[in-house]
Every structure is written in structure tokens, then in C-alpha cells.
């Protein structure tokens, strides 16, 4: 991971916090003194109840994939805690650093280089709901850095580190709660929101570590500062994990950035790009580069950043083969709790692979569309939905490739096909 950080522009020069360079402003492997020097101390007051209002005007949304308004989550957990008639229950706050998405590494990088920003954010969220227990649910490689950071401070003694498992769905909010409570990183059937009843039945907040990091800076510099970058519908910055032909790198970009800008900032030659997978394995393929990256907006002009993943597919690579490999992987990552996902995803993977690797049966396309519809919305978590979304976007964006494959050729890898 250090090689990723080495590619980040301007590490070391952290005067002020102008532009989109925010979360890593304390530099590489920032310890507590570098952290305080760069950001100043965490304000001791003003982060209680009215912090929710500050978050609302800042317009921060979750950076783990669902992009839900952070203030609403906190407000709901606070209200749930207050509404308990017998024995007031203190909400539980969890920093979610499980990054099962294979194309994402921004959370690991953040925890490695700026753990104090995340810890600050966790403390802010906990204070805002008068929270009790706090957890940092992070994957094994992140544990040493987080442990070191916690040892450096006196205000974080109540934070417990829990090792996240490395499965794709380990970061799903209810799987996080299940893992911490029962040691099983499997999504739960939920009739109630976690903010009402989560960890041991208590109101529970699960925030992605990057979301918490933004919270820490909003607590210091305010909503107006947060909004001075990005746009009305997508204020602030977000981290992106860029992968593909180049070795992976992390970018911190303004909200509502265009995909072309992202590629330019990553130093990728736009003319070589055949398609982009945006949002991760549960994301969407796009071929036009004038799309903007924002959690809301029309499908024809915006693409949701999801977990902040932008994966580059070169002109020479076949999008159907790439999708087939991803769907095969996603099928293995079903928790096998829900029937439609347990059987539907492997079925989708079989058909997707048949189309990608030489089967010419013209009915395959309709079958894949049908299976995608069959699995959608029929699970405890969104694993089948996300997989179906990916397949639909592949069939849409690579429709010419599908036609070519079904007639026995491939537009990309002509030489290799039988």
C-alpha cells in the first residue's frame, strides 16, 4: 500500500486545506503530532446535538457505497435511543473499514496513512448521539496502524478494534454488526433499521471510514468549508481507487467530477480507454467519459461512485470477458443464505461465461436478462441486485460485443477466439 501513497500528489506539503487535497493533508503515515499540526485539535465542544445540523448543511453522504445522508442516520439513531422508555440505551457506533470490494483500496490507504482522521470522526459521530460503545471494524492489514494510532491518544480508550473478514460482503452494514456481535460476517434479515436496532438490539450506526474522516474535518472547519469544493448535489471531496492498466492509485477528487477529469488526474491517456467500471463490482460500465460522478442525477449523465471505484478497461480488452470474470467471482461470494442469490448468481455466471467465451446460442442473451430480473430484490442484502445491475450495464454498454460474440467473433480479441 505504501507504493500507492507514494503516487499521491503533494504529500508533505500540507499548508492549509485548500482544493481537493484534504484527508491526507497530514502526510504519509501521519502520527498524532503530524495530524494535530495539519488539522489542529478536535474541538472539544460543539459536536453534540447541533453537529447533526452542521452535517445536514454540509450535505455529507456515505462513502461506502449507498451514499445515504449521514445526518439522517445519526438523527435516526439518536431518536431511537431517546425513544426507549425503559433504560436509555446508548447507541453503538462502528467505523466500517472492511473493504471486500477487490477494486477498492481507499479505505485501507486511509487507515494506513490517516488513521487519526478516522478516529476523530468516530468520536464526533459518537458524541453527536451520546453514544456508548465504539468499534473499528478493519481488515487484518490495517490493524497495526490503527492500533498504533489508538495507543497515541488518550481520548480513544473506549474504541475496540475488530478484525473484518476478507469476503466481498463483509462490509455490508448488517454483516458488520453480525460479525462484531456473533463472529459471522453474513448479512442479516432486517425488518428494522440498524439505527433502530442493531448491535445487541441497540441503535447502531455503521459508517464507512472515509465518511467518518470527512466528519472529522467538518467538525473542525464547518459546513461551508466542506461545500466550497464539489457541487450543490455532491458537495465535498471523495476518495477514488483507480485501477486498470496502471498500478492502483488513490485520488481525492471534488464531488460531481467528470470521468474525463478523473482519468486526466490519474495520468491515464483517455484515447486508450475502452470503458470504465464505476462503483466497483456492484457498479456500472460506462463508455462515454462526459459522465459526472455523483450519487444523484439522471442515469444518462451521472454515474454513482458507489464505493469510489474507477476501473479502466482498455480498447484492446473485451468487456464481456471482464464482466464474466467478475460475475463468476461474485457468484462465489454469495453468502448462500438466500436461495435466489445462492442459485441465481452461479446461473448468471454460467450464461455470462458462455456468451463471453464462445457459445453462440442466440437465446443466451434473453436468458441472462431474465435471470438478472429473477434475482433482483430477492435477498437479505443487495448482493444479487448489484450483480444484476453490473450484468445489465454490460449488456447495454457492450451490446455490439454481444452481437459479435453470438455470431462467433470478438471485436476486441479477434486472434484469440475460436
Amino acid at each position: 500500500m505504501t507504493s500507492l501513497a507514494a503516487q499521491m500528489p503533494g504529500l508533505g506539503d500540507h499548508r492549509g486545506l485548500r482544493g481537493t487535497y484534504r484527508l491526507f493533508a497530514a502526510g504519509n503515515n501521519a502520527d498524532i503530532s503530524a495530524h494535530v499540526q495539519a488539522f489542529g485539535p478536535l474541538p472539544a465542544s460543539g459536536i453534540e446535538g447541533d453537529f447533526i445540523d452542521v452535517l445536514e448543511s454540509a450535505g455529507l453522504t456515505g462513502r461506502g457505497g449507498a451514499a445515504f445522508a449521514s445526518w439522517r442516520k445519526i438523527a435516526a439513531a439518536g431518536a431511537a435511543a431517546r425513544s426507549r422508555a425503559i433504560m436509555a440505551t446508548k447507541p453503538v457506533v462502528i467505523a466500517n473499514g472492511a473493504e471486500g470490494e477487490p477494486l477498492s483500496f481507499k479505505d485501507k490507504t486511509l487507515l494506513a496513512h490517516a488513521p487519526h482522521v478516522v478516529i476523530d470522526g468516530l468520536l464526533c459521530a459518537a458524541r453527536a448521539v451520546a453514544g456508548g460503545q465504539m468499534f473499528m471494524y478493519v481488515s487484518a492489514p490495517s490493524i497495526p496502524a490503527v492500533k498504533r494510532a489508538l495507543a497515541e491518544r488518550t481520548d480513544a480508550r473506549n474504541i475496540k478494534i475488530v478484525a473484518a473478514s476478507e469476503t466481498f460482503i463483509s462490509g455490508e452494514a448488517s454483516a458488520v454488526v453480525n460479525s462484531i456481535a456473533n463472529g459471522k460476517a453474513l448479512p442479516l434479515e432486517r425488518r428494522r433499521r440498524l439505527s433502530d436496532s442493531g448491535f445487541k438490539g441497540r441503535p447502531t450506526l455503521v459508517f464507512n471510514v472515509e465518511t467518518l474522516a470527512h466528519m472529522a474535518l467538518i467538525a473542525r472547519f464547518g459546513a461551508a468549508w466542506f461545500r466550497c469544493v464539489g457541487t450543490e448535489r455532491d458537495p465535498g471531496t471523495r476518495l477514488l481507487s483507480i485501477s486498470g492498466p496502471i498500478s492502483g492509485q488513490i485520488l481525492e477528487v471534488a464531488g460531481d467530477v467528470s470521468l474525463e477529469d478523473v482519468l486526466t488526474q490519474s495520468g491515464i491517456d483517455v484515447s486508450t480507454v475502452g470503458a470504465l467500471l464505476v462503483g466497483g463490482y456492484h457498479g456500472r460500465w460506462v463508455r462515454r467519459l462526459d459522465y459526472r460522478l455523483a450519487p444523484t442525477g439522471t442515469e444518462s449523465h451521472t454515474v454513482r461512485p458507489g464505493a469510489g471505484v474507477v476501473h479502466v478497461l482498455l480498447h484492446s480488452q473485451c468487456g464481456l470477458e471482464a464482466t464474466a470474470q467478475i460475475v463468476s467471482y461474485l457468484a462465489t461470494q454469495s453468502a448462500k443464505q438466500c436461495g435466489p442469490c445462492m442459485f441465481g448468481l452461479p446461473a448468471m455466471a454460467r450464461v455470462m461465461n458462455a456468451i463471453a467465451y464462445g457459445d453462440r446460442d442466440p437465446r443466451l442473451l434473453l436468458e441472462l436478462v431474465r435471470l438478472s430480473d429473477v434475482v433482483t430484490g430477492r435477498g437479505a442484502c443487495h448482493h444479487p441486485d448489484g450483480t444484476a445491475e453490473l450484468v445489465r450495464s454490460a449488456l447495454d454498454q457492450f451490446s455490439e460485443d454481444v452481437d459479435a460474440h453470438l455470431s462467433g467473433t470478438c471485436l476486441k480479441t479477434k486472434g484469440r477466439r475460436s
Binding site: 448462500k336 436461495g339 445462492m342 442459485f343 452461479p346
Partner: protein, 185 residues
């Protein structure tokens, strides 16, 4: 009067056993997850449940009449605690064991939604112990236990339960995720 109670006790015992045999057979068919001929699965479940309740009523009648009956000399303790009886304590004790098991199975069935599927299933497995014990009790303790008619009945019961079990295990038709997985292998 005494004769009436005694006769009622014996007849209700036999009827109860027949009904329990039917319940077990229907339970096995239900568990197989297949509709039977034209009877849909949910009807099978309902018939199974109603048979069970009817069988339980006759069992209550069987036990109740014999407690009241002076000839049987059955005490209230004998109903709950096995092997204390004065007449053939072992065979009568088997009846008590079966009765206790029936109570456990019926109570957990009525509370199924409260206690969850797991506890319900665990207790329900005891029917496979309950039924043969009840049959043994009838053969060993019953006044008519060794009569030709009753032996025929017992053999028929054994055959029908056995046949249901064979049918249940005959194919991998069970509609569960596990068998579906195996089919894919």
C-alpha cells in the same frame, strides 16, 4: 359405570394409536415436501396437524378414563412419571413415556412461532421415538394387545410408516436448498 370407563379407556387407546400412526405417516409425507397425488402441500400439513390434534384428544380420553377407572388403578403420578404403576409397570411406563413425549411435541408445535423452527424441529424428532414406544405399550400392556385383530393392526401400522419412510428417502426429491445444490454438482 366402571365397565363403561374401562371399555372407553381401551377403545380410545386403540383409536388414538391409529390416529397417531396416521399423523406420523402424514408428517413424513409433509416433510418430504411433495404434494401427494392431488393434495397440495399445505393441505397435507393441515391434515397432519388435525390428525395430531384428534389423536391427542383420544389420548387424553384414554389416559383420563383410566385414571378415573377403579379397575386400572392408575394414579395421577403414573400419568407423568413412568414405571411406577402396579400392573405391568414396564409396559405401562412406556405409555407414560409416550404420553410425556406427545405433550412435549404438541406444546412445542402450538408454540412454534414463539420458540422458532430449530427448537420445534428438535422436539418434533422425538415423535420417531414416541410412536414405536406407544406401539410397544399397546402390545405389552393392552388387554387386547395380543389379540389377532390388534396384531394385524400393529403390523399394518408398521408397514404404512415404513412405506412412508421409504418413499420419503426413495428419491432426492426433497425440496430444500441442500438437495438442489447436490443436483447441481
Amino acid at each position: 359405570m366402571d365397565n363403561t370407563l374401562w371399555a372407553l379407556g381401551r377403545v380410545s387407546g386403540i383409536v388414538s394409536l391409529i390416529l397417531f400412526t396416521g399423523t406420523v405417516v402424514l408428517g413424513i409425507l409433509t416433510r418430504s415436501g411433495r404434494p401427494l397425488l392431488s393434495i397440495p402441500r399445505y393441505s397435507l400439513t393441515l391434515i397432519h396437524r388435525n390428525f395430531a390434534l384428534l389423536a391427542t384428544i383420544f389420548l387424553a380420553l384414554h389416559v383420563g378414563t383410566l385414571v378415573l377407572d377403579s379397575f386400572a388403578k392408575l394414579t395421577v403420578a403414573d400419568v407423568v412419571v413412568p414405571f411406577l404403576g402396579s400392573y405391568r409397570p414396564f409396559w405401562q411406563g412406556l405409555g407414560t413415556v409416550a404420553f410425556d413425549l406427545v405433550v412435549a411435541v404438541v406444546v412445542t408445535s402450538l408454540l412454534r412461532r414463539r420458540i422458532g423452527v430449530r427448537a420445534f424441529r428438535a422436539v418434533h424428532w422425538f415423535t420417531y421415538a414416541m410412536w414405536p414406544i406407544a406401539l410397544a405399550h399397546a402390545l405389552g400392556n393392552g388387554t387386547d394387545g395380543t389379540s389377532k385383530f390388534f396384531l394385524m393392526l400393529a403390523i399394518c401400522s408398521l408397514i404404512s410408516v415404513g412405506a412412508a419412510l421409504v418413499w420419503r428417502f426413495s428419491t432426492n426429491f426433497l425440496e430444500t436448498a441442500k438437495t438442489r445444490q447436490e443436483e447441481l454438482q
